[in-house]
């Protein structure tokens, strides 16, 4: 990853620049989850992940998008879900963006796995899955404006 610095309002901030970026924008219907997984599969393979990890990436992004469609948009297919994929030489990052209802990640973190399985309507099981698959997960929730889930996974280096 290359980093450059940018002056903004008198402050210097580091801006990450990824080598490749891809964007998929689809209507907020669960019927599009298969298309989203195809997108993730192609990009995960291009980034160098093996079959098992590509499946896990598919699952993480599927869960994130299903949560958006079911909980942020209440299954209304008239909205949009944006999936950005950013590849660098040793990692992949996905950013899932929606303009639906936000949620409180802290509430989900408190539940244990058994409770999440029992009460899977909360979407918490999906988030737990995402956390167990990805190396870093961050949320940016601006109520009434946008929700953004950023999740990153490092490529395991194979040594001879």
């Amino acid at each position: 990853m290359r980093c450059s610095t940018k002056a903004r309002g008198g402050r210097i901030s580091a801006v990450a620049q990824f080598e490749k970026s891809f964007t998929l924008q689809v209507p907020s219907s669960t019927q599009n989850l298969a298309l989203i997984r195809e997108f993730v599969s192609a990009i995960g393979a291009q980034a160098g992940f093996d079959e098992k990890d590509v499946m896990r990436l598919q699952l993480a992004v599927d869960e994130a998008c299903a949560n958006v469609i079911e909980h942020a948009y209440d299954l209304e297919a008239t909205h949009e879900v944006t999936i950005r994929a950013l590849i660098d030489d040793d990692l992949i990052r996905f950013e899932i963006v929606d303009q639906g209802k936000g949620f409180d990640p802290a509430r989900i973190e408190e539940q244990n796995l058994d409770a999440l399985i029992r009460d899977r309507r909360s979407g918490g099981l999906g988030l737990r899955l995402i956390r167990s698959i990805m190396d870093d997960v961050q949320y940016q929730i601006v109520p009434g404006e946008k929700n953004e889930l950023r999740m990153m996974k490092r490529l395991k280096k194979h040594t001879a």
């Binding site: 219907s29 669960t30 019927q31 989850l33 298969a34 997984r37 079959e51 098992k52 499946m55 896990r56 598919q58 699952l59 599927d62 869960e63 299903a66 469609i69 079911e70 796995l113 399985i117 899977r120 099981l125 999906g126 737990r128 899955l129 167990s132 698959i133």
Partner: protein, 114 residues
Amino acid sequence: MEFTTETVSGVTIVTLLGETLDASNAKALKTDLVPVLAPGAKLVFDMKALRFVDSSGLGALLSCLRQVHSSGGDLKLCEMAKTVRALFELVRMHRIFEIYSSREEALRSYGAEV
């Protein structure tokens, strides 16, 4: 998702024919399976066609398991692809379901002659 059913020595084998069980079809499958989940039913779900399951799909399967358990029946899974098995292990669902590598093994676990 479409499925077929057949009965062998009192055990109902449900063969799931779709490759994916996710938020787009899990709820419908759960509804479609209601007639199969009769009180006391001995069930085996053959999952060899399935290549991807997400938490919605897991939820549907778990719901079926709870329903049959509550009426004195049982539900076992077989012929699971490696990727699907890995997902079950990720959320520790392999401890909740009895999973067999073949249909015959699942049938034998019920004492059925195969």
